[in-house]
């Protein structure tokens, strides 16, 4: 299987199959990020389509200074933020999943590795977390999604958001505190 950098180089040279392979490989995670940021399945689809159009236009200017996946995280994050700016200042994530259905398989989750304290987290608690993240300010929500839900390193999140790592760490700390405060209130 070709690596991302190779696929991107070929796509930039006009290889449609290579571009298609990139789209197939990265669309699921881009959709996931878009959904977590916008809270709307329909808008997440639009964000993903806009992101790939933007990515396609920028293929030739990609300098390979960061991983392709990090670059695509940046593209989708920027598209999602642009949509939020166009939409309205406050966003609700009350229905974060398509058709209002939870994508959590409770049985699977119950069998998943428990956390450090050995607790089994119930699906409702996960729903509450996702709703609480949706209520955070965008400036806190986005880094939290990238770091805590997507598992990016501090350096990668800082790269995606074009901020320095120190500033990111303090913003994330505030976001985590705010998230816990939201969870406590519900």
């Amino acid at each position: 299987m070709s690596d991302d950098a190779d696929l991107l180089t070929r796509a930039a040279a006009g290889d449609d199959a290579a571009f298609g392979a990139l789209v197939r490989r990265h669309t699921p995670r881009m959709y996931r990020v878009a959904l977590r940021i916008t809270g709307s399945a329909a808008e997440a689809e639009d964000v993903v389509q806009d992101s790939w159009l933007a990515a396609w236009r920028a293929l030739a200017s990609f300098r390979h200074e960061s991983a392709v996946s990090t670059w695509l995280y940046r593209v989708v994050t920027n598209s999602a933020l642009a949509l939020l700016r166009r939409r309205r200042p406050t966003i609700s994530l009350d229905a974060p999943e398509p058709d209002g259905q939870s994508t959590l398989d409770s049985a699977l989750l119950a069998r998943a590795d428990p956390g450090p304290e050995g607790r089994v987290v119930r699906a409702e608690e996960v729903d509450a977390v996702l709703r609480a993240i949706g209520r955070l300010e965008v400036s806190q929500r986005v880094p939290l999604v990238l770091r805590e839900l997507e598992g990016l390193s501090y350096e990668e999140v800082a790269d995606v958001l074009d901020v320095n790592v120190g500033a990111l760490r303090s913003r994330l700390h505030r976001a985590r505190v705010a998230l816990l405060a939201e969870l406590r209130e519900r």
């Binding site: 789209v23 959709y31 399945a41 304290e117 607790r119 996960v126 977390v129 996702l130 505190v177 816990l180």
Partner: protein, 137 residues
């Protein structure tokens, strides 16, 4: 207060970790829709030659422009359902109010859209309007 200093040690943080493990299914057909959207974005629908070069407008842009004009100029009783570019022409799918003369309504929209699109793009544009549904008044 310790949990405020290190939120990740708060017992509630287990639920955040679990949220990270939650699977988010990709909507069926999304990859194909993305590839079609990118292909539309790449295809040149209109090319206007000029002395200092040519102006190229992609299908995606033509479709968005046509959609905005169609919605704005649709006669009373005509609802625009979809707009796309296919077979070198703008295709507009509409629903007309029950009781309206469908062909007259469609023709009025077609003429309006053709004229405005041609004016804005600077080239003659073919527009087809298809009545695909009837809605109650």
């Amino acid at each position: 207060m310790a949990e405020l200093q290190d939120p990740e040690r708060d017992p509630r943080w287990d639920a955040v970790r679990a949220a990270a493990r939650r699977r988010v299914p990709t909507p069926p057909g999304l990859v194909e829709r993305v590839l079609r959207a990118v292909a539309r974005g790449r295809r040149t629908a209109v090319e206007v030659p000029g002395e200092a070069g040519s102006l190229r407008v992609t299908e995606n842009v033509v479709a968005r422009l046509a959609s905005a004009i169609a919605v704005e100029r649709a006669p009373d009783g005509v609802r625009v359902s979809a707009v796309g570019v296919e077979e070198d022409a703008v295709q507009v799918l509409v629903s007309v109010r029950f009781g309206l003369t469908a062909d007259a309504a469609a023709e009025a929209l077609r003429q309006e859209l053709t004229e405005e699109l041609s004016r804005q793009l600077g080239v003659a544009t073919t527009v087809n309007v298809h009545v695909i549904d009837v809605h109650p008044g």
